[in-house]
Point group: C6
Chain length 268, copies 6
Amino acid sequence: MSAPQRLHVPVKSVGYVPVQNEVELFSAAHAAALPVLLKGPTGVGKTRFVEHMAERLDLPLITVPCHEDLTAADLVGRYLLQGNQTVWVDGPLTRAMRTGAICYLDEVVEARADTIVVLHPLMDHRRELHIERLGESLRAPASFMLVLSYNPGYQSLMKDLKASTRQRMIAIDFAFPPAHVELEVLTSLYAIDRSYAEQLIRLAGAIRRLDDEGLSEAASTRALVSAGKLHRGGMSGRDSAVAAIASPLSDDEEVRRGLVELIDTYLT
Amino acid sequence: MSAPQRLHVPVKSVGYVPVQNEVELFSAAHAAALPVLLKGPTGVGKTRFVEHMAERLDLPLITVPCHEDLTAADLVGRYLLQGNQTVWVDGPLTRAMRTGAICYLDEVVEARADTIVVLHPLMDHRRELHIERLGESLRAPASFMLVLSYNPGYQSLMKDLKASTRQRMIAIDFAFPPAHVELEVLTSLYAIDRSYAEQLIRLAGAIRRLDDEGLSEAASTRALVSAGKLHRGGMSGRDSAVAAIASPLSDDEEVRRGLVELIDTYLT
Amino acid sequence: MSAPQRLHVPVKSVGYVPVQNEVELFSAAHAAALPVLLKGPTGVGKTRFVEHMAERLDLPLITVPCHEDLTAADLVGRYLLQGNQTVWVDGPLTRAMRTGAICYLDEVVEARADTIVVLHPLMDHRRELHIERLGESLRAPASFMLVLSYNPGYQSLMKDLKASTRQRMIAIDFAFPPAHVELEVLTSLYAIDRSYAEQLIRLAGAIRRLDDEGLSEAASTRALVSAGKLHRGGMSGRDSAVAAIASPLSDDEEVRRGLVELIDTYLT
Amino acid sequence: MSAPQRLHVPVKSVGYVPVQNEVELFSAAHAAALPVLLKGPTGVGKTRFVEHMAERLDLPLITVPCHEDLTAADLVGRYLLQGNQTVWVDGPLTRAMRTGAICYLDEVVEARADTIVVLHPLMDHRRELHIERLGESLRAPASFMLVLSYNPGYQSLMKDLKASTRQRMIAIDFAFPPAHVELEVLTSLYAIDRSYAEQLIRLAGAIRRLDDEGLSEAASTRALVSAGKLHRGGMSGRDSAVAAIASPLSDDEEVRRGLVELIDTYLT
Amino acid sequence: MSAPQRLHVPVKSVGYVPVQNEVELFSAAHAAALPVLLKGPTGVGKTRFVEHMAERLDLPLITVPCHEDLTAADLVGRYLLQGNQTVWVDGPLTRAMRTGAICYLDEVVEARADTIVVLHPLMDHRRELHIERLGESLRAPASFMLVLSYNPGYQSLMKDLKASTRQRMIAIDFAFPPAHVELEVLTSLYAIDRSYAEQLIRLAGAIRRLDDEGLSEAASTRALVSAGKLHRGGMSGRDSAVAAIASPLSDDEEVRRGLVELIDTYLT
Amino acid sequence: MSAPQRLHVPVKSVGYVPVQNEVELFSAAHAAALPVLLKGPTGVGKTRFVEHMAERLDLPLITVPCHEDLTAADLVGRYLLQGNQTVWVDGPLTRAMRTGAICYLDEVVEARADTIVVLHPLMDHRRELHIERLGESLRAPASFMLVLSYNPGYQSLMKDLKASTRQRMIAIDFAFPPAHVELEVLTSLYAIDRSYAEQLIRLAGAIRRLDDEGLSEAASTRALVSAGKLHRGGMSGRDSAVAAIASPLSDDEEVRRGLVELIDTYLT
């Protein structure tokens, strides 16, 4: 894999439009064998970025959506009964280590602290995983990389990433892309009509500026793409935006009405 | 399946009387491979709507009533002991993917967050389900569709749909139908006597306007249907309305008395 | 089963003295295939009423006392190991569906929400139960009926019947019977001495009027029956009432003393 | 078993000195097939009373100490693996029903509500136990009796006996015995030196009058017996009372010092 | 085993230096078949005392460190799979009963209430253990003795020994020994240099007088022993006391600094 | 293993730069068979110190990352099904005892209290482990040593090391190293450019002085090393410090901006 360098990144088969230095940072972290934490709101493209980087670095990608019942065994592996034999089945983390893949733990803050702790020896100079059940210690090959994502907006007293976990990683911050980048995403990657895309982006800008008025999360790029798809399928621009942006965003009747008014203002 | 188009929707074998653009939106979402979230109070016809759409789109329908102990394995599948063999049994979600069906998760907000998270890779551009236990990745066929329903009135601090889940779907809002639609539902679909149906709808209107006065949920269309059935079975109109509408709505003696007074006012 | 009709109800082998229109309502609900919710305080005769109706309608009755650890599998069935074979054993709900019985869930509010949710498809127009483990869908035969009971006095923030459950049923309210009905119950059904029965009913009336003074539940008909039985067994009227009514009602020394004073006043 | 009658109760092999009408009440309840609830503080002799009554009525006694993890299966029975066969093993409740014994649930308020609910059908006119796992319904023989004990002093918001459980039983209140009865217990049943016994009873009287001053439970008859035994074993009267009464009663240094002062006052 | 008698207690192979009448009380309790509760702070020698008494009474000793997941089965025994046979394996309590040993439950307040309740029938006149799984009732032989220890300083609302448990035992209070006894312990039992031992004891005295100033537990005899051992291993007296006394006692930087100042004052 | 002595400690294959007397204290504790508690913030080098000491003392090292679901069986061992045989598999603690290794429990405060209690008999004069399941008692060989680490900054009401556990150990305090030591660590152990290392250390000093301003944990030595590695990989000094220090430290936008300003100040 090539040394990190700041160059124009051509859209490849998993298209991605870079915003800042995220491509270079990810590459440098991979070369230095450092785990990476992707921080940012939902629908901003973190998952697509990891898919894109896996393709660039020509590495297999193994994704694990985290949740509060994800156990260490779910990551590492377990004995399963097959026929009347018990056979060991590697979990996604172990499989990623054996194949030198990127292991991507999506929304890691959802996982239980004890499960995350299992990753610690993999995150420092040791880069090793002891599999108690097999009596086997795996050392990560050079190409193996651990990537975690999380959404700081969800962060609460109960669920937070411990400092001892965070300081083992370098972090890359994601935010909503600037308008010209988002426009390129909608038109190039998703073939949405340019004029409707421009209206949607202006609408999204207005909604994102509201931010604190009772919306748990501002309109994401993903929601704009959904509106574009409905529109392409024959729904009016207004109906598409209501169904893909206003209705999912809030259950509060008043907030929803405000959003529809914004839609009526920005979509002509 | 045909492209979505706004046309008069004839009542088919699973009768349904449309209120707004819900039929077209659902069809457009299916054509664009977008998952759909149905929002609205209980007894307003969400389940019947999905049954109706499955028939229109000529797709099998698999319904899963959600609850707080629904695990990912309940959705995806598990190994079961049969005789002295362990055999894999697909869960309803996997079955829906293999057969290109609509998978309908009813009252999804009841399910645990970790179970819902399993759906995420199925809800974005990936549309895939990795079955860890089988070492198998399924891609959804074009006809597969994920539909979730939930009742915003139940929404609480503890149980809410995460923004990262909501923004993966388009949403359709359901409310109590206007009187002429509800009358058609009662008389055409359930063969309730037109004069008693009109009285019930006026009564329901009065109750729904009370809304904030200690009623956790206003009188649903379903409750009106039950009253109609008791009436057809020989009970007086008043006794039918008390048993089907007033008694289930509240345990508070004073509220219940108020409802009975409304019944005495509107049912002559 | 006969059409509901308001007629004098003769005491049959499971004796029951009707108070209002509960017999007719239950019959009409059964004819219309509607589930029934019995609401009312403990010891007022809900269980006996269901037993009586099962006899009237000539249907088998399957009773399930609910509790907070009642699982869906407890209702539906499970595979059990017998010898070294696993065999499927129907739960009480499934058994009731296969035999067209009345399935009576006593104190249903004690059950976990997820267990109650399993009943939903059985409670609306579908009347069907999907048994995931067997890959089998059962449709309820016409005679099958679901009856739930609960005590609104226990209702709390934590444990309440959800509106989506309540609105699927018609409800029948139970209260303490008027004195002449209660007297008939004590003397005809339980052969308690008429003069002692009259004293007990006056005593119960006095206690029930106290209601809010620290008693979690007023003296039930069942408690009066117990006092009558102790009396018949040779204990004095006062000792019988203290042991069967005052002592179980409260642990507060002062409240208990007040109850004993009432006993001394009303039992001569 | 003989009809209840108020007569002098001779001390039998399990000695018991009656205080009020508890022997007659228990006998009458047994004859009327009513379950009994024994209420009172710890160490006051409830367990010994049940043992005594079992002997009087010539019935086997099966005792179950309740705790918060006692499950319904612990009471009813379960399949156990023996060799490579699964065999059904009756629980204590089922065993008591089959043999017509007294089943004594000690400190029942400790048990989980769902476990207690299993007893309900056994407590009313049905007197039956349905064993789901065996597909078998047992009817209680006439001699079978259910006895529950609990200590109202422990009663809390979290752990209380539900009214629907309490009203199925008659209740007998226990309190500390009057001095002359307690003296007979110490000297006749436990052969404690009369002069030391008199001192201990005066001491206990003084402690019981303190009651509200930070003592969770006053000195029980059982504690007096322990002091007497230590004394008989050669310890001084004062050392015996400190070890058996003052030290177990409180961990608060000041309270303990007050108790030792009382000991120095009453034990000469 | 000999009758209890107050005599000079020679230090035996498990050395112990008695402080008050604890040796005589323990012996008298054993002779009277009464269970014993040892109360006192950590590190004061309760465990060593029990080991010493087991040797004096020539009884085997079985120790169970209690914790919040200790189940009744952990104490009583369970069936285990060995090869493809299930065999019953006695737990430590059952083993102690069969061999007439002392069963010592260390820090019993950590155990769950339901586990402690299992001990009740063993603690009163019955002295018996019913093993449900074996259908077997064991009576304790005369030499069997139950000893529990707990630290009142940990006592909290959540974790406390119930009065019904406490009153079944006699209690022996332990406190920090007077200086001359502690000096004998350090020099005779642990061969610590007399001059350093005297400094440590003066230091401990000063710390124990602070008591309420943010220290969860004062310096124990055990901590003094550890300091002595480090000193014997070549560390300076000051470094030894900091590492064995100040650092373990508190994480609060200010408190720790205060302790180091005390060390600098008392260790010359 | 040699007696502890204060001498210059040459950097060995697992490099370590000592700050105070930690090497001597650890050696003396090992010689005196005392368990050791390492206290200090994350990323300060506790794990590396243990690895270094294991090499110095020429002992095998077995590390257990603790978490809230770590059970006693995870430490001690369990029976596992292999083929159709159950075989006993030692846990890491048992393995460490059998081989005379150092057993290092990392972040022990995360483990459940009941799991830690299992260690108690290993921590006092007994130094023994009773394996209930095997009916076997192991005595620790002289070289066996128990080392625990924890971070006092995480200490909370819920999760704290009990005094009875703490007082069984001697404790070594770790803090951020003085600048000249940290510089040696960065340049000698990690080959980071001296000039960039000096800038990073000045930056870290500034951040550590902020301490109370909303940072849950100050910049660790480990974070400085990560920045150095990114820099070596071609990223600018500023980008490296943002990604490795500022972004992981805080999710608060304002705090993060402050950190970036500090970076702009100290990195020229």
